[in-house]
Amino acid sequence: MRRLGGHELRIAGIIGTRGFAASVGGLAVYVVATIGCLVSSQVTKTYLGTIRENGLITVFDPSASAAAAPAVVAALYLAVVSSLSVARDRSSGTLEVLFYGPVNEVSYVLGKYVEQMLTCGVILGFYAIVIPLQSVLAGLGSSGRMWPTLLVALGGASAAVSLGILVSSGARSARSSVTVMAGLLTVLLLIQGANAILDGVDLATLPAALSYALPLISAAGRVGEYVSPFGYMAEGMNALARGDIARYATFLATSLAYSAVLLVLAVANIRRKGVKA
């Protein structure tokens, strides 16, 4: 593969910052950040209720754990928006116009990635302010693990954005791209949720037919650890909870590698499919 040129990075930067400026100029980003913060407030209240009821709770860190669910909200939004990006530009003819200029597949895909990651930065910035504030208001005190938790969210979001760009690069229309992405995210979340539920459920109480599906769910969960952005996020949170620095570093490296691979595939997809609608 040829090396990344300086001008490609410069153009990617321009595409990214312009797209980012357009994103923060609209209300969507703030609405998503608000939804995320509402989710975290609900999680915080749940923890609070448990502590009041039982006198104690045994979790890794109530404040940092409250940031995990909003991180999924951010990743979902960014994945869907990313899945729109290339397909919409292609169907509207913007992609073709851009490619008459100095833009090529690499700079374009990188630009889209930069745009979404900057948007992610804004959402996580709000989380970094609001979630600790909610924690203090709830009397849970401050957490020293908020920044490492947000870094986990950033790694997961990076994987989600890359997946969105890859799906978008292969789709002919924005509608089909979003449909595929929404379906894919739903399946991945269902697998992850089913695995999480199975972890604590008494399997003897399950219907027999479902019990026969368990190995399938378990195997899908194992695959999901490698292909799902939420799998990477869960792995990062586990590493953080156990204070396992090597595992945490591995999570960061693998989520970046996952993003890089998907972006390379997206570039190849655009080359194969062309820029015309």
Partner: protein, 478 residues
């Protein structure tokens, strides 16, 4: 719409229908396959019987070669068995496990989803002494085992767990000693019975004529204590002690032929991790303890709370393998647990000779220390519900033994972050015993949700100021 678009949509629809059909077919197949293979021959259900007033569901058991497994689960020995339909057994690596071979009647009981064997009436293999068990790793012969004498040891009495297997001469010698101890105990019981008869007679005499005893009440004879360490009978079985790995076992008769139906796969698995876990008993909910199994489960508690902690030495295993180890006769056991980990408590800490204490530490200062004590739970009298947990004392408590023993921790007054850790007699903190202890106030404020709208306010401000800057005020067309 283009032809390609229509074609794509049709393909997508076809794909969805295909997936849906696969799920339906798959689930119906699963339902049909709920009873394991062979069970259709093994179970006869008679509708007339079920409908009748004296309805019973007859089961037809098949006599087959069965492995009776006495397996170490990390804490004690448990018994399960491996019928013909189950092809793989699971053992913990580097532990002694006993495998008995019997011909027993086996049937599948669908109500509880498990195989049941008539082990009481199982017959020994006629030529057991001539049998040998081969253990193979791949095609390589690892060991050839002969039946060995063994006995189970119950260090805390018969009601306690079997924690050790004694082999060969040691098993026989210890068993003989145990029988002597039992005989001595029996003799002591007879003597005690005799002495007690004399005592009751003396008491009657005392009541009739106290002056004859110089006012001294006859003393009740002390009851002899039974042997604390108990042993099972000496049995004969194949003893396997395998390093981690996958193996095959099979039986060979005296002529060197493989016994039909004796071949099984054996997975010897090891512990994933070791650590110290806590059982945490809140004072106001002593029957609902929480667990903190590893260092990722820190404790967040309200200030002024009183908790009792019971630390345990623990081991983690693959949950699927562990479930198969403990309930191999239940085919659904462990299904879907392949990716999960399970912590199991091995033994309580603090019951050892070493003097341990639990410390609550803030920075470098020790905010509180607790040592292990026995406690008694006293129900409050009258119609009011509730109880008090008081320190156990044989003199003052009505019960002969405490309800639990634990380290009592009173939470610090000041909210903040502390450390909970176990310290030994020389002041060293035990590995994996540290948990973050976060003391909170826990105030349910409506501001928690209000704070969530900060991003929306910022966004609205940004959008409005941007529009003002660009001179693009929104207006409504009439």
């Amino acid at each position: 719409m283009t032809c390609a678009g229509i074609g794509g949509r049709r393909t997508l629809m076809a794909l969805i229908v295909l997936i849906f059909c696969s799920i339906v077919v798959g689930l119906s197949t699963c339902n049909a396959a709920v009873a394991p293979s062979g069970s259709s021959q093994g179970i006869l259900t008679n509708n007339a019987d079920i409908e009748g007033a004296d309805g019973e569901v007859p089961v037809v058991a098949q006599e087959q070669l069965v492995y009776g497994l006495t397996l170490f689960d990390g804490r004690q020995y448990q018994w399960t068995f491996c019928p013909q339909d189950i092809k793989t057994a699971y053992v913990i690596s580097d532990t002694r496990n006993a495998i008995l071979v019997r011909r027993a009647k086996v049937y599948f009981w669908p109500i509880t989803g498990e195989y049941v064997s008539d082990w009481e009436d199982a017959t020994e293999m006629a030529d057991l002494a001539e049998l040998s068990m081969e253990v193979l790793a791949g095609s390589k012969l690892v060991a050839t085992l002969r039946p060995q004498k063994y006995a189970m040891m119950y260090r805390s009495g018969y009601m306690g767990p079997a924690t050790e297997i004694l082999l060969d001469e040691a098993a026989q010698t210890e068993f003989d000693r145990y029988m002597i101890r039992l005989e001595e105990y029996g003799a002591a019981i007879s003597r005690h019975y005799q002495a007690y008869m004399e005592y009751t007679k003396a008491i009657s005499d005392f009541i009739d004529n106290p002056t004859a005893f110089d006012g001294k009440i006859p003393k009740e004879p002390a009851e002899p204590t039974p042997p604390e360490v108990c042993l099972s009978q000496v049995y004969e079985a194949f003893i396997v002690d395998l390093p981690e790995g996958s193996y095959r076992i099979r039986l060979k008769d005296g002529a060197g032929n493989v016994v039909p139906g004796s071949e099984k796969a054996v997975v010897a698995f090891s512990a994933i991790g070791r650590g110290i876990g806590y059982q945490i008993i809140p004072e106001d909910k002593w029957t609902c303890p929480s667990r903190s199994d590893d260092t990722s489960q820190n404790i967040t508690a309200l200030k002024d709370q009183v908790i009792y902690v019971k630390p345990y030495e623990e081991v983690s295993f693959n949950r699927h393998h562990y479930a198969k180890l403990t309930e191999l006769h239940r085919p659904a056991g462990g299904r879907g647990m392949e990716n999960q980990t399970l912590w199991t408590y091995v033994r309580p800490l603090g019951a050892t000779d070493e003097m341990l204490s639990v410390e609550v530490v803030s920075g470098k200062d020790v905010a509180g220390t607790a040592v292990e004590k026995p406690y008694h739970v006293e129900q409050t009298s009258g119609s009011s519900l509730g109880y008090n947990i008081i320190e156990f004392s044989p003199e003052t408590c009505p019960e002969s033994s405490p309800d639990f023993t634990a380290f009592k921790i009173e939470m610090p007054q000041n909210p903040g972050r502390y450390r909970l850790q176990i310290v030994n007699a020389s002041g060293q903190v035990l590995d994996d015993s540290t948990r973050e202890l976060r003391i909170v106030q826990g105030t349910d404020s409506s501001w928690i949700q209000a704070a969530a709208f900060i991003p929306l306010f910022v966004g609205a401000f940004m959008v409005i100021s941007r529009r003002r800057k660009c001179g693009m005020r929104p207006h409504v067309d009439s």
